[in-house]
Symmetry: C2
Subunit: 338 residues, 2 copies
DNA sequence: GTGTCTTTGTACATCGTTGGAAACAACGTT
DNA sequence: AACGTTGTTTCCAACGATGTACAAAGACAC
């Protein structure tokens, strides 16, 4: 059995509270007593019961990080960074996979589990801002990526961190245009949603095309059910079967791009000469493709740090509505595919 | 503030215990009372405080999963599967990243955090079986991958799940040999360790070579500081600079293989005609390389399920020494690189 | 009407911890 | 000798939940 304060107290011949005082670094403990207690702690191997402590103090020491899937490298890298950032606040990270299912996203802030966390960081796909605001009444919440909570009068109702998706997408497409490409395809549209990542990146794509006076050929815009390599490969196949195939593709994330690259390779296209490819996310495997993937690189460390700091602030001022909307930096990382 | 049993009890006009009885489905509650309580629960939005419940019941509802790094896709996929398996036992998974650092691996079962978990699943790199056995006195522990706890008289002292690394490595190399390759290199040796994954895979490599009466050229065995794409790329470069370069490479994991593939591509080698490549792990990105990576596929789902079940068993019989050593299946997945 | 049994509800102690306040020395002041 | 001070330790209640013991109320046999 694990030793408790009581065991230590008995061994040291003092009261439970004195041991507690020693453990918590209370000032007024006689040096001799302190030493005796410390010896007792060492011999019993006492470690505080965090559950009990948190019950007493009302802080749990956990935050939840909810992402669609962990085996998407983008989210794995992000999770890794969030864990590191959370460590600084003595927080342990609980990772939840939502699979983009609305109920699972809501459950993060409503289920029984949710009341064992001090705050939650959620990367939502399906759930809208209104639902969340209602649900997240008592759990401080930070949103990642799109679907900002469009609070009244432009003031956000929920903390939010994301890159400027429109600008980032525009940057990607402008890069392709600057390379002399004219028939530029887009992979990853998801017409169902209107506030989501997909629609923002579509907007950026359209803006860049319009600014260069290039027409947007509807045949060159391919949807993706999810942002996986498989969907990217399928979409690329569809594009290459076109009567007039594209000379460049903007993929809405790197996984789609890896799939597209695979299809291009299989069908014997030379990248980037015949087909330029640009992605979004800057996952590590992209840099090791042949050729290495050119991509938009969101500052993941900034995103993770900011999200954790916001969460920390939010739980500190518990409830008071002062949500922030923070835009994280990104950069164009030119490698070999465009 | 979150509602407690007390709030519900006051609203329903019954005692706290009665509410607790309703919540836990105790049989002898009058239908009328039960209903009144349920209404009160609904209007207050009561959800049980799991921390308090666990304090009372002595079970925390958490297990730890400690892996070297989450942004290694193999571990990300594994984590994803463990989370799913743990759900079945109502367990929430705490993911820790050890970065292969000995102290962090030990901390999983010794730090203050460790006493908030019912069990731990650890994928050790640095720490040895003896340290662990001593450290894990009160936390049930399951080891993943190598470094089995070589208990007295061959009986394992700590639960352990892994594929037969020697057999798997041998299978990989035998496949290369069956393809007619003769100068077969190995990337990923780590001479420092003796019970680790690296040495077992080296053994398998040597066995296969010996069985085919092929000499092992020391120049063809390249070490890797860690199992990353970067190390794989560097090692491949080294091999290709050899006076007599290899006609095949066995990489000790897929990440190394992806790096090797990248180098081969950059240097214009045609894979697999001029150089066959085989990996280990079967991470998803391998299937989307150009060409797609041939690899050894450990049954990750079996590993995750078994590990969680062992952990469940271990915490149920808390302390009693009846550790098991389970070998998970693997298969050769032939794709395009070998 | 008494005694026994079953159903339904309540009191109380408890899990391991911490905050607040009281108790207790030891000391110097007046 | 009585009185604060100052430092040090202890006692008690509480965090939110559950298990044990028991009490009240009704049902039933006799």
């Amino acid at each position: 059995m694990a030793a408790t304060l009581k065991d230590v107290a008995e061994l040291a011949g003092v009261s439970i509270k004195t041991v507690s005082n020693v453990v918590n670094g209370y000032e007024f403990v006689r040096a001799e007593t302190r030493e005796r207690v410390q010896v007792a702690i060492a011999t019993t191997g006492y470690r505080p019961n965090l559950g009990a402590r948190n019950l007493r103090k009302g802080r749990t020491g956990f935050i939840a990080l909810a992402v669609p899937e962990l085996d998407n490298p983008y989210f794995a890298e992000l999770a890794s960074l969030v864990i590191t950032a959370a460590d600084r606040h003595d927080w342990t990270v609980l990772i939840e996979q939502t699979h983009g299912i609305r109920d699972r996203e809501l459950a993060v802030v409503t289920s029984a589990r949710s009341q064992r966390i001090d705050a939650a960081i959620l990367s939502p796909l399906a759930v809208g801002p209104d639902d969340l605001r209602r649900a997240a009444r008592d759990t401080p919440l930070v949103l990642l990526g799109e679907r900002p909570a469009a609070g009244r009068a432009g003031r956000p109702a929920i903390d939010h961190v994301a890159v400027d998706n429109v600008a980032a997408a525009r940057t990607a497409v402008e890069h392709l245009i600057s390379l002399g490409r004219r028939r530029i395809a887009a992979i990853g549209d998801q017409p169902g949603q209107d506030a989501g990542t997909a629609s923002l990146r579509m907007t950026g794509y359209r803006e860049a095309m319009r600014k260069a006076s290039l027409p947007v050929d509807p045949a060159l815009v391919v949807q993706a059910a999810d942002y996986s390599r498989a969907e990217g490969a399928a979409a690329m196949n569809q594009l290459l079967n076109l009567h007039e195939p594209p000379d460049a593709v903007f993929c809405f994330n790197d996984l789609l791009a890896m799939g597209a690259l695979r299809t291009a390779g299989v069908r014997g296209l030379e990248v980037p000469r015949e087909l330029a490819v640009i992605g979004f996310d800057d996952i590590r495997e992209g840099a090791y493709g042949v050729p290495a993937l050119t991509t938009i690189a969101p500052d993941k460390k900034a995103i993770a740090d900011t999200a954790v700091d916001l969460a920390f602030g939010a739980q500190a001022r518990a409830g008071k509505p002062m949500a922030q909307d923070i835009t994280a930096p990104f950069e164009l990382r030119v490698r070999e595919t465009a």
